[in-house]
C-alpha cells in the first residue's frame, strides 16, 4: 500500500513539476516531437525505398545479345544450359522480330526503323532474370555468359538500381545524422526543463531532505518528468507521421505516383515500431533528466 502511495505521490509531483513551467514543457515536447518525427519518417521512407529497390532488383534482367553468325543449334544449347542453371530464374529467347516489336512499343516515334535502315538492325538475344537480386551474383553471371562464343555483348539492366541504392544510402546516413543531432537538441531541452523545475522547487527539495524523505522520493519525480516529456514527444511524432502519411496518400491518389506512394508509405509504422519509439523516447528522456538533475536531486 505504501508503494502505491509512493507511486501516486511521484506521479503527482512529476506532473506538478511539468506544470510549473508549461511553456518550457511544451517546447521540450515539440523539440522531441520534431526530432522523432524526422527519425521515424526516415525509418518509414527508408523501409519503403529498400522494399522498392529490392522489388526492382528482383525484376532486373540481363540482356544477352547474340552474334548474327551464331548457329541456331549453339544458341538453343546455350539457352537450355542457362535455363538449367539454378542461379537463373527465367530465360527468354527474344527473336529479332520480337525485339523490333518491343522497340516499336518503347519508341513509337522510331517505329519505322527497319524501313529507314532497309532491314531490322536488332540482334537476337536471351533475357535472363537472376534468381537472386544480389548485384554481385548478377555481375558474375553476366561475365560468365559474356564469355560464350555465341554471345556478342551483355547488358546488365541494374546499374541504375545500384546508383539509386547508393544515393539512398547517402540520404539515409545524412538523415540519420541530422535526426540524431535534433534528438540531442530535444534531449537537451528536456534536461533544461527538468533542471529548471528542480531549481524552482529548491526549498521543497531541501525540506524533503531535512525531514528524511527518501532520496528516491526526490529523484523519482525528476526522472518521471523526463520520461513523460520524451513519451509525449514520441506520441506527437507518431501522430504527426500518421497525419502526414494519410495526407500524402490522399493528395497523390489518382496520380501516376499513387502506386509508388502506397508502396513506400504502406500502412505506416507498425505497432511494434510505435511502442519502440515511445519506450525509446521515454528512456532517453529519463536519462536526460537524470543527467541534468545530477547530484542536485539526491544530495
Amino acid at each position: 500500500m505504501k508503494i502505491v502511495r509512493f507511486a501516486f505521490e511521484v506521479v503527482r509531483a512529476a506532473l506538478s513539476d511539468l506544470g510549473r513551467s508549461p511553456v518550457a514543457s511544451l517546447l521540450a515536447i515539440l523539440a522531441m516531437g520534431v526530432a522523432i518525427f524526422l527519425l521515424a519518417g526516415f525509418v518509414l521512407v527508408g523501409r519503403g525505398v529498400e522494399a522498392l529497390l529490392s522489388h526492382w532488383a528482383s525484376q532486373a534482367s540481363i540482356e544477352v545479345y547474340l552474334r548474327d553468325d551464331a548457329p541456331d543449334e549453339e544458341v538453343a544449347l546455350l539457352a537450355r544450359s542457362l535455363a538449367a542453371d539454378p542461379a537463373i530464374r527465367r530465360v527468354e529467347q527474344i527473336s529479332r522480330e520480337r525485339a523490333l516489336a518491343e522497340f516499336r512499343q518503347l519508341f513509337p516515334d522510331l517505329a519505322d526503323i527497319d524501313g529507314l535502315l532497309g532491314e531490322n538492325p536488332l540482334p537476337r538475344s536471351l533475357r535472363l532474370v537472376p534468381a537472386s537480386p544480389d548485384p554481385t551474383t548478377a555481375r558474375a553471371l553476366a561475365r560468365q555468359v559474356g564469355a560464350h562464343p555465341a554471345v556478342d555483348s551483355v547488358r546488365l539492366d541494374r546499374e541504375w538500381i545500384d546508383t539509386l541504392a547508393r544515393l539512398g544510402a547517402v540520404l539515409r546516413w545524412s538523415t540519420a545524422v541530422g535526426s540524431l543531432v535534433l534528438l540531442l537538441a530535444g534531449l537537451t531541452t528536456i534536461g533544461s526543463v527538468v533542471r529548471l523545475a528542480l531549481d524552482d522547487k529548491r526549498d521543497e527539495v531541501a525540506l524533503m531532505r531535512l525531514v528524511g524523505a527518501p532520496a528516491s522520493f526526490v529523484l523519482a519525480p525528476v526522472l518521471l518528468s523526463g520520461a513523460l516529456l520524451g513519451a509525449a514527444g514520441a506520441a506527437v511524432a507518431v501522430w504527426g507521421l500518421d497525419l502526414v502519411r494519410l495526407a500524402a496518400l490522399a493528395w497523390l491518389e489518382g496520380t501516376p505516383l499513387a502506386g509508388l506512394a502506397s508502396f513506400m508509405l504502406g500502412t505506416g509504422l507498425d505497432a511494434a515500431s510505435r511502442l519502440a519509439l515511445l519506450a525509446g523516447a521515454s528512456a532517453a528522456g529519463l536519462v536526460a533528466a537524470g543527467l541534468a538533475a545530477g547530484r542536485a536531486a539526491v544530495r
Partner: protein
Amino acid sequence: MIVFDRVTKRYRHSEPALDDVSFHVPPGEFVVVTGPSGAGKTTLLQLIYREIAPTRGRVIVAGMDVGRLPFRQVPRLRRKIGIVFQDFRLLPRRTVAENVSFVLRALAWPADRRRERTRRVLEWVGLGHRASDWPAELSGGEQQRVAIARALAAEPRLLLADEPTGNLDAERSLEILGLLHEIHARGTTVLLATHDRELIERSGARVIALRAGRLVDAGAAA
C-alpha cells in the same frame, strides 16, 4: 539520545568550529545550547542531523553513529528529528496546512492520516483557524509556530531548535519557549540553541555552553 564523544569539526583551512566537544543528552531531556555568535551552536546541531560529518570523534544520535552513517541511511536518522530554524523556512507558495502536510506527504503518509495529523498539530500550536492562510499573511510568531507544527508533524523523538526566537520580540519568544516546554512535557527530547539570556534563564533547562568551538560548561545531565 545524543552522545558527543570528543567531537571536532574543522572546515577547510580554518580554526575548528567545534573542538574536542563531549556531552551526553539522555532521552526526554530539555537542553539549551548557548554561546556567542560563532561559538559552534549551529555546527553542533548540523552534526546531529548529519548535515555535516565530524572531522574527529563520534556523534551518536538515537543509537546511530552519525559520522559513519552511509548516505542512504541519513533519511532514517532525520525521520527521528524535527528541526526549527530562526528564519522559519516555510514554503511561501503553500498554505499553512500545506506546509505542515507537505512533510507527511514526503514521508508517504496516507491522505486521511495526513489531514488528521495536520489539523491536530495546527490546533495544538493554536493555528487551526489559520490553516488555509498563506505564510506571508502571518506574524513572525505565528510563522514560527507553523514551523514548529511542521517539525512535530511526523512525531519526531528529538526536536532541534536553532535560534527559533532570533526574529521575534520578547513576548513572542516566551510563547515559543512555552510551546517547546509543552513538547518536552509530552516526552520529546528538545535541544534549543540560543544566545538569549532571558530565554535561557526562563527555560530552567540544563545549559551546554560553547565558546569559540570549545565546551565551557556541559551543565549536569538530568
